[in-house]
């Protein structure tokens, strides 16, 4: 634990480097594309269009929770998908990050824990580019932002800690077991549907089955995504208890993830 705190302080010392690496990731990502940074806006916008067409019009889900409006349903979807994309793409990238930056670990003195942090942060920035699009559409369809949007950073923080713990675990274990990359892809698909993103928790079939409800409640992402729904879509107070417990769970995962990472650290230069 003492070591953890000491290392975290070390991490803070490297903030300039993290900052630079994040901006490098962002720059390199769109280098050579015509629209460049605009893609950060277009990607979520197009995603939103796709979900609206598929779930709003083709599947025509007119749940009373959304006043039978496909547009409201699309907004609900979008406010959950956006943070989910942040989570899933950082997880996938984290699983690879030590290998893709193997050169840094092998050839120069470089604190490896920076890499998952950089991955998570650059994806956070993409996520935040999507937020204005969401806000605009919420406004257009009469879901005005409320004072509760101020709790958004808190929800983001919980997700950040949770994802970082998960990222540490993934990145260090993948060095030894490359299979994790493939397992992860499938796991994330399952996880996506095991989180109330395409359906609300208030869905009839969910409410009727106690087992299903318990299962969903055991999923930390349920509460994190729920937090986004609360402060963005519903415009209401976040549920402190569920988010508080999720925060504790996230901190535990973070500690475990970091401990595993730290334990395996010395093997990275040889194995990546």
């Amino acid at each position: 634990m003492v070591r953890l705190i000491k290392n975290l302080r070390e991490l803070y010392r490297y903030r300039v480097l993290i900052q630079n690496l994040v901006s490098r990731e962002l720059k390199a990502r769109y280098r050579g594309s015509v629209l460049g940074f605009l893609w950060s806006f277009f990607n979520p916008l197009l995603l939103m269009v796709v979900y609206t067409i598929v779930f709003g019009f083709i599947i025509n889900s007119r749940d009373p929770a959304f006043n039978s409006s496909p547009w409201l349903y699309a907004l609900y979807l979008f406010s959950g998908v956006l943070p989910w994309v942040w989570f899933s793409s950082s997880s996938i990238e984290s699983a690879n990050v030590l290998m893709t930056h193997g050169n840094l670990i092998k050839k120069i003195l470089f604190p490896a824990e920076i890499l998952p942090v950089v991955t998570l942060t650059s994806n956070l920035i993409h996520f935040s580019f999507g937020l204005p699009i969401l806000f605009i559409f919420l406004f257009i369809f009469g879901k005005y932002l409320t004072i509760y949007v101020l709790f958004l950073p808190l929800v983001v923080l919980v997700q950040f800690i949770f994802s970082l713990g998960f990222g540490f675990l993934l990145s260090s274990l993948t060095v030894h077991f490359r299979d994790i990359k493939d397992i992860l892809g499938n796991l994330l698909t399952f996880w996506f549907f095991a989180t109330p993103i395409v359906y609300p928790l208030s869905f009839e079939s969910v409410q009727k089955s106690g087992v299903l409800r318990t299962m969903l409640n055991l999923n930390p992402m349920t509460h994190i995504i729920g937090g986004y729904h609360d402060c963005l879509f519903y415009g209401r107070m976040i549920r402190w208890r569920s988010l508080g417990i999720t925060l504790i769970v996230s901190l535990v995962l973070f500690t475990i993830g970091y401990a595993v990472f730290d334990r395996l650290r010395d093997s990275f230069p040889e194995e990546v």
Binding site: R24, K27, N103, I108
Partner: protein, 437 residues
């Protein structure tokens, strides 16, 4: 005052068997031996109980064969790898020239890479801004600094990497073989910079196979062998001892190689069915023996002037070629000859008794023919030896083509076919620092 102190540093690497390498998470789970399978099958000791001190301001060289642990040592000092056991103390900021431009991102510009790489190496943004022009100037990349690094040639890449690393202004500089990739113009510039470091009394740890440079620039040299320090001390002495060891090893290799063809030839005591040489086939096949063996060359030995059998020679050394010959019937027409060829097949020297006007009178029974070369005067390389017994008109009794070889080995890098005996002299106003002083 020591800049680097190692005390009993040992580094053990885990070696996994081929079976293990393909072990996957799935199979580990299925077999339930996840943790057991993480244990290595074999341990390889890359560094074994290394203790050494490098004083501040010293240029310290590390030499040794490939796989002797030099790079591991450097990585441990740089902090990239951790010692398995033992203590390491490093005082001062380190910059490691282990792989130049290791952290470059190909998609972004040289300018941005300079900043990121500089920060990785421990500079602040402000320091980089101050040194930016110097870094780019030294790398001679002013024109290209805003182009993405992926468009750089490997030389440009290396120059920029070197330039950043050297401008980190470390107190301790670790250099691992990096100079071997530079072009002819850039390497002297780098060496100049290194010299500059030495003058400013910074500590340098220099790992290289270039023994001449090591002997020239280092104050002290350690020779690593199989992960242990074999010798440590004054550069010239260590380099010489190392060379001696390498020579001995080459000698052993030659001995082993030599045994094969001789054994293969041994049963051929009777005359071979095919007597005359075929010129076309002769070129195709490098190693050959032909002739009816009326005079047989039974054994060829290379010796030093002192009579000791050897295969690795110094250019200034002499060589004795000794042939055990036997005439199966008394003969009156015979010539003994030798020819020395380099690895490209160029004849370096050839002579025979006839060319030197020795008139053959008689030969019968067994005897010895020796040719004593007072000084080899050849440059570094592998040489092949032809020996022959033939008639004056060219009819071969026993011709051995390329069956024997020897090595000439020294630190000198002169070029050509032969090392002509020479001496340099200068009038008093032309001054040199003499080699080895």
């Amino acid at each position: 005052m020591y800049a680097i102190e190692l005390d009993g540093v040992t580094r053990v690497y885990q070696k996994y068997s081929a079976r293990h390498r393909f072990q996957t998470f799935k199979s580990a789970l299925v077999k339930g031996d996840l943790f057991r399978s993480l244990k290595p099958d074999e341990l390889v000791t890359a560094l074994d109980d290394i203790s050494l001190q490098v004083e501040k301001g010293m240029t310290f060289g590390v030499i040794g064969e490939n796989g002797s642990g030099k790079s591991t040592l450097l990585k441990i000092i740089a902090g990239i790898a951790k010692p398995t056991s033992g203590r390491l103390k490093v005082e001062g900021k380190i910059s490691a020239l282990i792989e130049l431009g290791a952290g470059f991102h190909p998609e972004i510009s040289g300018r941005e890479n300079v900043f990121i790489n500089g920060i990785m190496l421990g500079l602040s943004k402000k320091e980089i801004t101050q040194k930016f022009d110097e870094i780019v100037g030294f790398a001679e990349l002013e024109e290209f600094i805003d182009a993405p690094v992926k468009t750089y040639s490997s030389g440009m890449y290396m120059r920029l990497g070197f330039s950043i690393a050297i401008n980190v202004n470390p107190e301790i500089l670790l250099i691992d073989e990096v100079l071997s990739v530079g072009d002819a113009a850039f390497v002297p510039k780098c060496l100049d910079r290194i010299d500059d470091f030495r003058r400013r009394r910074k500590t340098i740890l220099f790992v290289s196979h270039d023994l001449t440079t090591v002997a020239k620039i280092c104050d002290k040299v350690a020779w690593l062998k199989d992960g242990k320090i074999r010798m440590i001390g004054e550069p010239k002495r260590i380099v010489d001892a190392y060379l001696q060891d390498v020579t001995e090893k080459q000698e052993e290799d030659f001995q082993e190689r030599k045994v094969q063809p001789v054994q293969a030839e041994a049963p051929a005591a009777e005359p071979l069915p095919e007597p005359a040489p075929k010129p076309a086939a002769e070129d195709e096949k490098r190693e050959q023996r032909w002739g009816k063996r009326e005079i047989e060359i039974r054994k060829v030995t290379l010796k030093s002037l002192g009579g000791e059998e050897k295969h690795v020679f110094h250019p200034e050394e002499g060589m004795v070629i000794e042939m055990d010959v036997a005439a199966h019937k008394p003969l009156k027409d015979f010539v003994f000859g030798i020819g020395i060829f380099n690895s490209q097949g160029i004849s370096c020297y050839g002579t025979n008794t006839n060319l030197e006007d020795f008139e053959p009178l008689s030969i019968s029974g067994a005897g010895k023919v020796t040719c004593r070369i007072e000084r080899l005067s050849l440059i570094n390389g592998t040489y092949y030896l032809d020996v022959a017994a033939h008639k004056r008109d060219g009819y071969s009794y026993d011709y051995h083509r390329n069956l024997y070889s020897f090595l000439v080995s020294s630190m000198l890098k002169d070029v050509g076919i032969a090392r002509l005996p020479h001496a340099w002299n200068f009038t008093p106003k032309i001054k040199f620092k003499l080699p080895g002083k």
